[in-house]
Amino acid sequence: MFRCTLVVCGRGVAKRFASSFPGESALPPNLLLPTNLVDPARLRRPPPPADCSLPLLRKCDAVVPAHLSPVQTWVETLARPDSEPLGLAQLHPDVFAVHPRLDILHEVETWQRNYKRISHASTKIRSEVRGGGRKPWKQKGSGRARHGSIRSPLWKGGGVANGPRGPTSYFYMLPMKVRVQGLKVALSSKMAQQYLHIVDSLNIPSPDPQYLLDLIRHKHWGESLLIVDVGEEFPENILQATAGLKTVNIIPAIGLNVHSMLKHEAVVLTLETIKFLEDKLLWHDQRYTPLYPFKLPYSDFP
């Protein structure tokens, strides 16, 4: 998917350059740019130093193992496009600093694509095609090849011998801990590549989509943005602003998944979302194996 857009972008770039004066340094038309090109103007804001004067707005609720230290990041605001970060936040390393397991990411992404897939491709076999019960001509004497029905797969209009049969499903479930680890790896990768941004709340001054686009372009967050918030209610302004935009999308925290995180270049989480995610994802590290499905009541969960 990204390769296609890349080829199209490359061709667009090449077309623009090919139309210029050929004496200048024009890019060759068959130039293929790599997919992981990052906007060089993207501000590589260094992680907050240890002696920063900004207040620590959030500490980790869960116990951090002794051999790990919490990840520190900036907390920004959406209210003004050109504002400095409000403060710092500490994130749990077992959620936001796990090892970048690309194989788990691949597994979870393939699972997301395939478990819902129903292929409706279907063909009729020779017994289902209308007609073809009678032997077309007698076995011997006519001089033609011997046939038993006019709907055998050899005939035009006949049935398909080994074709797709009816709606097929490709359902399977990955183990719960693999899916949880996939979420953790995706969040850690976004954090490590500085595509994860933390915001105190989603209040913006105007419901204009252009405000969001200007904010993103000013802060150099990327081309596409995924906004995640806990709760069923969102501020009206941000709902209206994202409704008009294709590449900026807002989802509740329950809807977070690896495919959306990989599709959108930057991810914005609020402080409540981080608490929610840490709470949900860290529980699986220390839970007992289920004796019966979790949807049935347990005395100590949730």
């Binding site: 289902e128 929610f276 949807k295 949730p302």
Partner: protein, 158 residues
């Protein structure tokens, strides 16, 4: 009139032109055959000019193209594509009140089920068989009978 005697110089040139255009269809086989025919009977006697047959080593392709077709323009940010996969972790993140298998849009006998053709058909008969049309039901039963015998009585695995 089509099978004119090519000069020895033009035969390789035409081959090169054909390759440069990059038209990798079955026309190449026909073209190659024609060129070979042209070259071969050039060297033979001129009386055989109008009696050579066209050789075709591949099927004749009905689609004709003049140039490389343009890529189809796909919008990667439609509503469906940008919201794909949302709520897939509704179990883990949502207190296990729902399961991702509840999100699957499928015929009722295929929701959260995977099996080979025989298993799918048996499940369909069990769940939906009494609501099916008579012809479809008859075909279903015939197919189940055939597949049962095929899987359990023939071949290596029984």
């Amino acid at each position: 009139m089509f099978l004119r005697c090519f000069n020895d110089n033009t035969v390789p040139a035409l081959c090169i032109v054909g390759h440069r255009l990059g038209i990798e269809t079955e026309n190449m086989a026909v073209l190659g055959g024609l060129l070979k025919a042209g070259a071969s009977f050039c060297q033979s006697a001129a009386t055989l000019l109008h009696t050579a047959r066209t050789i075709s080593t591949g099927t004749c392709c009905q689609i004709r193209m003049h140039a490389i077709p343009q890529l189809k323009k796909v919008d990667r940010w439609t509503e469906k594509r940008s919201m794909y996969g949302v709520y897939d972790n509704i179990g883990i993140l949502g207190d296990f009140k729902a399961h991702p298998k509840d999100l699957i849009v499928a015929p009722c006998w295929l929701k959260a089920f995977k099996g080979n053709e025989l298993q799918r058909l048996i499940r369909k008969k069990k769940m939906v068989g009494d609501r099916m049309m008579t012809l479809d039901k008859h075909n279903l039963e015939k197919r189940i009978r055939f597949l049962y015998r095929r899987f359990n009585r023939t071949g290596k695995h029984r």
